[in-house]
Amino acid sequence: MISIEPVAAPGAPLARRNPVAKVVAALVFSFTLLATLDPVAPAIAIAVELAVLPLFGIRYRVLARRAWPLLVSAVGILVTLVLFAADRSGRVLLDAGPVLVTSGVLLTALGLILRVLAVALPGVIVFATTDPTDLADALIQNAKAPARFAIGALAAFRLVPLLGQEWQMISMARRARGVDAGRDPAAKLRLFASTAFALLVGAIRRGTRLAVAMDARGFDAGTPRTVARRQPFTRADAVLIAVAAALAGSALTISILLGTFRPLLG
């Protein structure tokens, strides 16, 4: 089951920051790191990210559980490069027929893995510490996003966890009707497609009903909206963004000074 609820202690000093500030800080940090292909800058960035984790009120164990898809993709990168890398320079570490592992291959793989982790972790941290309602409120109030988009997405988002249960019900209902795939892979694929289609039809019907209910309560009727929950954007929020930019810049600077910097462009 995909978890979408925030997992942080809500009182932690950085978890409390304005959601828009957190998103912007994460974007600034990640995009700066994209500028280089070397492994040093991302390694520094990951160290920084892990160091600030307590300030966001996230425990390392919780992060590991939340970030498991990232770890899986890291393993995927390693396996792919070991098997298919074109550049097989450096010392030979393992020679097992078609699999030739060299120090060059491992270095390239390591660089890529570090980049993926360094760029993705800020996003994971932000969403692990942000309540979806607060994010929608802040997008409307601080980033001037249209309420039609932000609240609409929020309402749709609330229906997501229902899809898992729905999938299970549809699958069981099909079995009760005498429909199963047995061991035939083509039948399995067809069953999967038809279950997905039924899920989609159900989701659209529910979405339509929800839209009518929102309409009935005056949503997007042209009246200027007021806000029940203020999301202040304070100096501390501006500082968070500035510090994120400075830290990412420092990681790049260190990489340049060490001579490992490899620009993405040029």
């Binding site: 069981m172 429909v179 529910r206 309560r217 997007d220 009727a221 909206r225 806000v227 029940a228």
Partner: protein
């Protein structure tokens, strides 16, 4: 405090040949409490949508006029609040208080007034938790009371309720009706659509009956309307008080054993249960919300793997698979032996026409095409679906969808039928047909298990009742 005036009102949804509602002349004074009745398909819900201003001009064709306090309802939307049937698709926000505040924000109520009005609305409907309670953690009845609070917080002059208790268990439905009775201001106009007349009567002082072909059949105080039209309405499916339905209990002793549950459970959803189902017997499973009734139905139906204990089918039911539990049978074999009817009929639909839907089971279990055609024709006829044979299952009304979902389970002639809340939200006519259908099956030697909250259904059909406790 809003008045309603309809003059020759009609509405036809775009792309439909028939008018959903037509020729309605009706005047409702401010502060009146009206119960709107009519057989399935008389256009009650369409009329409410029109009053709520929820029929955009480009979504169909209008005849005549509809006015709220002299205004087109599309322009007077702030005067009207509406609560629908399905709790799950009415709540917008993750926290209860935020959901009530949602409408107030949309209407531009000043921020300083929002939270006092939210608290007041929650108090009026008897909402038992604080504002931060997650909406996902509420029961159906609590969600409906929250939706009512969301409508009332906007202080509508006219409140529309479209079968707000149809999807609820009796206890939850009762709390919602009490909330409506207690929360309305004396001068709020109320228009209520509800099949279950006896429960709705304390809330209303006037009854309006729509005629399916168009127009208003009857209008007046409840006793006058039911005195003149009660029997006809009951025959058409309205639950008119004082028209009891004949019971259909078994006349013969039950036959051989079909299915046994032995310390069967699925922690934490269901604690250990022992029960046996015999042929020629209708067994009812009751119990409060959260006791695991639906889980038990899925376990008995061979659709879920038991977490504890076991389900065993007798030789009579299992044939060659006697030593394998039902959840490990292949699907076609399962469908021939045990039929399951789900709470939500739409979960079960696989094809794009009613005919194919009924033919699916027999085809999957290897019947020749001639036999399939005969089976389908018999079921279409038996369940009044013949004129819908080419219709898409998803376009059926609630009663039609329910009848189809039962028919699909019967198409493979299973020895045992397991139904989860088959009578939920059904009108009196479909309800009576279901009782007769299940009773006929039982008398023909099938076993019937129904998980249900409906005490009348248990009284009319069940030979034996098993009650689950909350685990």
């Amino acid at each position: 405090m809003s008045g309603v005036q309809l003059r020759g009102f009609g509405w036809r949804h775009a792309g439909r040949r028939a008018w959903a509602v037509r020729g309605v002349d009706l005047r409702v004074e401010a502060g009146e409490r009206v119960l709107l009745l009519g057989p399935s398909g008389a256009g009650k819900s369409t009329l409410l949508s029109a009053l709520a201003g929820l029929l955009p001009e480009d979504s169909g064709e209008q005849e005549g006029t509809v006015e709220i306090d002299g205004l087109d309802p599309r322009k007077g939307r702030e005067r009207v609040g509406i609560v629908f049937q399905d709790p799950e698709t009415q709540l917008v926000m993750a926290r209860s208080g935020d959901d009530v505040a949602f409408g107030l924000e949309n209407r531009g109520v000043p921020a300083s007034e929002i939270w006092p009005r939210v608290d007041e609305a929650l108090r009026r409907v008897g909402f038992p938790y604080d504002r931060d309670r997650p909406t996902a953690a509420l029961s159906g009845g609590e969600q409906q009371r929250l939706a009512l609070a969301g409508a009332l917080a906007l202080r509508p002059g006219l409140l529309l309720l479209d079968e707000p208790t149809a999807n609820l268990d009796p206890a939850g439905a009762d709390l919602v009706r009490r909330a409506v009775a207690g929360a309305l201001d004396a001068d709020t106009t109320l228009i209520l659509v509800e099949h279950r007349v006896a429960e709705a009567l304390p809330l209303v002082d006037r009854v309006v009956v729509l005629e399916p072909g168009g127009g208003v059949r009857a209008d007046g105080p409840p006793e006058t309307v039911f005195g003149a039209h009660g029997a006809a309405l009951a025959a058409e499916g309205v639950w008119v008080p004082g028209h009891p339905i004949a019971t259909r209990l078994a006349t013969a002793a039950p036959g051989e054993l079909l299915l046994t549950a032995d310390r069967l459970g699925l922690p934490p959803r269901l604690g250990p249960v022992d029960l046996a189902v015999r042929s020629g017997e209708a067994l009812a499973v009751r119990g409060p919300n959260g006791a695991g009734k639906s889980t038990l139905a899925l376990l008995l139906g061979g659709l879920l793997r038991p977490g504890a204990g076991r389900v065993s089918a007798s030789g009579e039911l299992a044939g060659p698979d006697q030593h394998t539990p039902p959840h490990r049978w292949r699907a076609p074999a399962l469908a021939r032996r045990i039929g399951s009817v789900f709470q939500d009929p739409e979960h079960q639909f696989v094809t794009s026409t009613v005919f194919d839907e009924l033919a699916l089971g027999p085809r999957r279990t290897g019947q020749p095409e001639a036999a399939v055609k005969a089976t389908v024709a018999g079921l279409l006829d038996r369940l009044r679906l013949a004129r819908l044979a080419a219709a898409n299952p998803y376009t059926l009304s609630g009663g039609e969808a329910r009848r189809l979902s039962v028919a699909t389970a019967l198409a493979t002639a299973p020895r045992l039928l397991i139904c989860d809340e088959p009578t939920f939200g059904q009108d009196r006519r479909t309800w009576r047909e279901l009782v007769d259908l299940f009773a006929d099956l039982r008398d023909a030697g099938h076993g019937v298990v129904t998980v249900t909250h409906d005490p009348d259904f248990v009284a009319a059909l069940a030979d034996r009742t098993v009650t689950l406790e909350r685990s």
